[in-house]
């Protein structure tokens, strides 16, 4: 190669690399700028809820200052009010009971069914698996009126045990569906090894499948927890007295007394009510996201 031919591509190369680097940096900066805009959009409401909850009633009502900052000092009186002057703690307890029961029931039903459908197969199991997925697509607002009649005829109207009865319809199909995916991803040789080692079906489920598919179990548990914690249509329809009410409906309806909106307390209530799912999300984000995306990618 002669010197002339060697130098031209070399300089072009150096120049090209530099501009490539610069392009990349600009793309990165643009990405950050847009992401910040979106982040503001997504985080504005929770931010405003937090600062409202930390303001005094007077500051909330008078709008003398910029509403987006706390001008007259942080106060926790709204939370104190919430816990002492309202039924909030009853709602919280009811929600906790309903959610824990729903999660336990859901996981028992789903894991058993998923083990059976994902591994053992029987006549009609393929149709059943498809049926489960279709059931998952049925929204709660399609069936709340006939369910109202059913819950009523069982004497569970205005009782949070009625929620324990109907919430599994929201959680079981999806949890079963994703657990089928997780169980199917376990290599077949693992059950054969367990079979030869002398495990029965139940030992296989509890000693091999559940421990190995633990990430799936966690994802499904988180899913059923968040769904039953956030459910709104069913309690709105089936519950009406404060002693049976759950957090979502209770915060939205009962905390609003007459025409006086106690916005500070309302926001404090909403924040405390939203805290459990947010805390779970903060600590188990990867499982949460795995559960979220599993429906479409694990099928």
């Amino acid at each position: 190669m002669t010197a002339a031919t060697a130098t031209t591509p070399l300089t072009r190369g150096v120049f090209g690399r530099a501009s490539l680097k610069r392009n990349r940096r600009w793309a990165l900066i643009a990405s950050y700028v847009f992401l910040i805009v979106f982040a503001i959009f997504f985080l504005l409401p929770p931010y405003y809820m937090i600062i409202t909850a930390l303001k005094s009633d007077a500051e909330v009502a008078h709008m003398a200052h910029n509403p987006w900052i706390i001008a007259e000092g942080i106060t926790f009186e709204q939370f104190k009010l919430l816990f002492t002057q309202s039924d909030f703690l009853i709602f919280f307890k009811n929600t906790a009971i309903v959610t824990v029961c729903t999660v336990v029931i859901t996981m028992c039903i789903s894991v058993l069914a998923a083990f059976s459908l994902g591994r053992m197969k029987f006549w009609g199991s393929g149709i059943l698996a498809t049926g489960i997925f279709l059931t998952y697509l049925v929204p709660d607002t399609l069936l709340f009126i006939p369910l109202f009649q059913i819950v009523k005829s069982l004497g569970l109207l205005n009782s949070y045990w009625g929620m324990v009865l109907v919430y599994p319809t929201l959680t079981v199909p999806f949890c079963t569906w994703i657990m089928i995916g997780y169980f199917q991803s376990i290599p077949k040789e693992l059950d054969e090894a367990a079979l030869i080692d002398g495990a029965g079906q139940m030992q296989m489920l509890f000693k091999i499948f559940i421990p190995v598919a633990l990430p799936g179990i966690i994802a499904a548990t988180i899913f059923s927890f968040t769904v039953s914690w956030a459910a709104f249509v069913y309690p709105m329809t089936f519950l009406y007295s404060a002693d049976q009410q759950v957090l979502t409906v209770g915060t939205v309806t009962s905390l609003i007394k007459a025409d006086v909106y106690k916005w500070g307390m309302l926001m404090a209530g909403a924040l405390v009510a939203a805290a459990p799912p947010l805390i779970i999300y903060a600590f188990l984000m990867d499982y949460y996201i795995a559960g979220l995306t599993a429906g479409a990618t694990k099928g």
Binding site: E189, L195, D197
Partner: protein, 367 residues
């Protein structure tokens, strides 16, 4: 420890016959290898012995008991899988003791057995690790350990080395042989690799298309294949199978490979081949029996020298493989590196006909 027997065992999937009427007698302590190409039914046979597949017809007997209806756990067997199938959530020690725990063995008995097996396999330092933290070879050892601790009647191996790289495979092969010599448990081993089969087996069962082609010791199969399939399958590089014609040459016989190349048939084979005179046959000759002319080996006995124009020359270090064509069919020879010529050149080669085989291309049986 026990003997195993298969009596007319058949496996059908719907209408597809995977294994057709197999008969096998495996004496106590034997290391038996089932070998064949993929889809030949060897794995299915093994899985039927394990109880992982139901048998369609026939009988499987382990230690004198018909086990057709017994689930795997009651057959007193242990199995090593191709992908190891270690329980990912258990430590090595827990993996090895799982079967014993399910069988309600006493704690100190379990510990003693695990420690002993770990010592045999040299994995004592790994006992507290999890499978994810182990290399392929170590996982393989643990899988074997899981089998050893059970002290079963029979060991079943399903292609245990095919997930390992070439070097490790050779190492683990020796390891398996060493372990068998120590524990002596009856072993049935499935592989598609004939080298593995040759090196490990007391006896080899060559399977093809759901049938047994031949059963015999490694040397027996190598030197006296009974079918064209076995002749071609056992040995690497494979035996040359050259279309030829068996003709008379005065009082003796000759195989005519092409218009200008014929090999004389050794006198002691003449009676055996008499019936095939005038017929098309396949001449089977292993590469190591086509060598260079100088040197002492093969100088005596029945050999025939012929010139060949080399197509491809592959130096292997210890020897050099030479490829040439006989009437369009590629033939491989094995020569001393110093004697080899370059490709395109003509070299004088010697065929050692004491080791020749003739195969009837219609029945595919060795004459």
């Amino acid at each position: 420890m026990a003997e195993v027997a298969l009596r007319n065992v058949v496996k059908k999937y719907d209408d597809v016959v995977a294994v057709s009427s197999i008969n096998l007698d495996i004496p106590n302590n034997e290391f038996l290898v089932l070998v064949g190409p993929s889809g030949c039914g060897k794995s299915t046979t093994l899985r039927m012995i394990a109880g992982l597949e139901e048998i369609t017809a026939g009988e499987i007997v382990i230690g004198g008991e018909v086990v057709n209806d017994l689930p795997p756990k009651d057959r007193d067997i242990a199995m090593v899988f191709q992908n190891y199938a270690l329980y990912p959530h258990m430590t090595v020690a827990e993996n090895m003791s799982f079967g014993l725990k399910l069988r309600k063995f006493a704690k100190d008995e379990i510990k003693a057995r695990v420690d002993n097996a770990a010592k045999i396999l040299d994995i004592t330092e790994l006992l507290t690790r999890r499978p994810k933290q182990l290399s392929g070879g170590q996982r393989q050892r643990v899988a074997m350990g899981r089998a050893i601790v059970r002290n079963p009647k029979v060991f079943l191996f399903d292609e245990p080395l095919s997930n390992l790289d070439a070097k490790l495979r050779v190492q683990m092969r020796t390891e398996i042989k060493r372990v068998h010599q120590k524990v002596k448990t009856t072993t049935i081993y499935v592989t598609h690799d004939q080298v593995e089969a040759m090196t490990l087996a007391d006896r080899i069962v060559v399977m093809n298309g759901g049938k047994i082609e031949q059963i015999g010791s490694p040397n027996d199969l190598y030197h006296h294949p009974k079918t064209r399939f076995v002749a071609g399958f056992i040995g690497s590089p494979a035996m040359n199978l050259i279309p030829a014609k068996l003709e008379t040459n005065g009082s003796s016989l000759k195989v005519r490979l092409s218009d200008n190349l014929s090999f004389p048939v050794p006198e002691n084979r003449a009676a055996r081949y008499r019936g095939a005179i005038g017929k098309d046959v396949l001449l089977g000759l292993r590469p190591e029996h086509i060598t260079e002319t100088r040197g002492a080996n093969g100088a005596s006995g029945n050999s025939h020298e012929f010139p060949a124009t080399l197509d491809v020359v592959e130096p292997m270090g210890m020897e050099t493989m030479v490829f040439f064509k006989v009437d369009g069919v590629e033939v491989c020879g094995r020569v001393e590196p110093t004697a080899a010529k370059g490709s395109g050149e003509t070299m004088l080669l010697r065929a050692n006909l004491d080791h020749m085989h003739l195969i009837d291309p219609n029945t595919n049986r060795v004459l």
